[in-house]
């Protein structure tokens, strides 16, 4: 901490530091609350469950998606390649090895699952299994 000759100078420095922090980008909005990685959204479109995950910087062949019953697991690794002899000014992105399992609200038909990866977003489209859909029962 700085030591100033007078208490008022210390207060002024503190006030300037707070103002600088509030106008900087540090408290800005980011798409996610920096919790688990990768950030995942689950959507429903008709009878399909769609999972979308933000995984920028991961190559397509470094992602693995596994499905069993109503559990989906996505795993992979994100490596950051920085040149050697580099000094770092700011590091907000992290290199991660991730492995996440999510429980889906319905059982899905594994044979009809499609997954694609574009621009850092992984999308898995999973149709609901026929056996999971409720059947109408006639009343005699």
């Amino acid at each position: 901490m700085f030591r100033f000759s007078s208490a008022l100078d210390t207060l002024l420095a503190l006030q300037e530091a707070v103002e600088a922090a509030s106008t900087s980008d540090y408290f800005g909005l980011s798409t996610t609350s920096r919790g688990t990685f990768p950030s995942t959204n689950l959507f429903q479109e008709g009878d399909n469950i769609i999972l979308m995950a933000e995984v920028p910087g991961v190559k397509k062949d470094e992602i693995e998606v596994q499905i069993k019953d109503n559990l989906i697991t996505i795993s992979g690794e994100r490596k950051n390649n920085y040149p050697e002899k580099a000094s770092v000014h700011r590091l907000e992105r992290h290199a991660y090895k991730f492995n996440r399992t999510m429980k889906l609200p319905v059982t899905v038909d594994i044979n009809q699952v499609k997954a694609d990866y574009e621009n850092g977003i992984l999308r898995v489209v999973m149709p609901r299994a026929e056996s999971d859909k409720p059947k109408m029962i006639d009343i005699n």
Partner: protein, 134 residues
Amino acid sequence: MNDKEKKEITVQDKKEVQTKSEPTIPGKVYLPNTDIVETDKELLVYMDMPGVSKEKIRVKIEKNVLAIDGEIDSSPYSNLKPLYTEYNIGHFSRSFELSNEIDQNGINATMTDGVLLLTLPKAPDKQPKMISVN
């Protein structure tokens, strides 16, 4: 002890406020996570912008401010009903002030897998020089 002086309301001097400019396109704007790494001859800026394709990125330099904007395509989300969300969908924008050590004509930008890499070369006369001893 109970006499309190009447306090007058005084008008404060106007302070200079640094405001960010208001957006004109619809949709929320978020800050992309950025790594800034410096080597001997250049500055490397990595920005995470998932969902933004190469054509939707705008990198602009005006005076000494480098402004990066990435537009996201929200059409794949239009018919979807959210069940569980951890991230928001929105455009990306961030700006940086460059020092005059950067050669502004040599800035290069590449985009792979949702990560934008900006290479800012240092001006040649600002690179560290080795001086040999005779």
